[in-house]
Symmetry: C2
Subunit: 151 residues, 2 copies
Amino acid sequence: MSGHDEVVIPRLAEGAVANDIGLLLAKLRAAGSEFNNKALAEFGLRERSYSVLRLACSGLEPTQRELADFLALDPSQIVALVDDLEGRGLVSREQGRTDRRQKIVLATPEGERLHATAEAAMQECEARQFSTLTADELATVRALLRKALWG
Amino acid sequence: MSGHDEVVIPRLAEGAVANDIGLLLAKLRAAGSEFNNKALAEFGLRERSYSVLRLACSGLEPTQRELADFLALDPSQIVALVDDLEGRGLVSREQGRTDRRQKIVLATPEGERLHATAEAAMQECEARQFSTLTADELATVRALLRKALWG
DNA sequence: GACCGATCGTTGAAAATGTCAATGAGTTAT
DNA sequence: ATAACTCATTGACATTTTCAACGATCGGTC
């Protein structure tokens, strides 16, 4: 609980290095992860389990394979994440509609409830992390990142 | 060397999830890392050792502590990275000017040479990763990410 | 000038993550 | 039917992250 949220501009940020988009992404992500995980700890979640829960709540009925691809994780990691959430009664595995090999991850009512409150906390985190941007700028970033990913 | 670079838009990208900036950053970063590391392998570098080498070449005379803070890595990881680069004659540790505890990481002439060629490869990676963006859009992203980080 | 707390680089160990191969069940194509 | 393939799962293995401790050095205080 330190009083000031001083934003320190490091000396090294002045070099050409700070134009590497990869580096900017990594830094932004590292900073965001820390705050997100801190905020999610209150709910017994981490960034990843939150993402899985979020997708389970989305109505998109994701299979584990889709989760793995979308979150850029190994399928075995999805197993562990879903195991945990399922063990806590937040999601359930349902057999795939057309393909009985795949398992659809669905949120339970309790999972939906937890997600709703966690989502609010996450939005606050995001707002705080990007507090130096205007609403328009934030929307622009969002749109451009999406375009970079999916055209 | 597969023929087509098909950009697949996953089904899950349609949900509200895809508006989470944290998630977009993570995906973009994961995709970028993979390509960057692949390109850097040719030089015996990885993203991190490249960043260290790059900062050692910047003229900013970074100390190891500054590298750790700037790259969001534990100081002990910097030790390992610098050990490796130093062992290959690409950088050297110099005693801090005013504080004899700190060590400044400087590139050797050979380090500068390697960095120059690696930098070209990295720029190509970046261009490829953001090929769906116009030059203006890319500049905008760069500027906004910097603003988000340092105001 | 000698202490005291703090910082820097370094080491090493523990925990968390990432990566990969193998497997059983189920699918699709031939 | 058979063969090749995909899905979720397991377990082994490597890499990365995280942390605590240490000697050397610094800055401030008596």
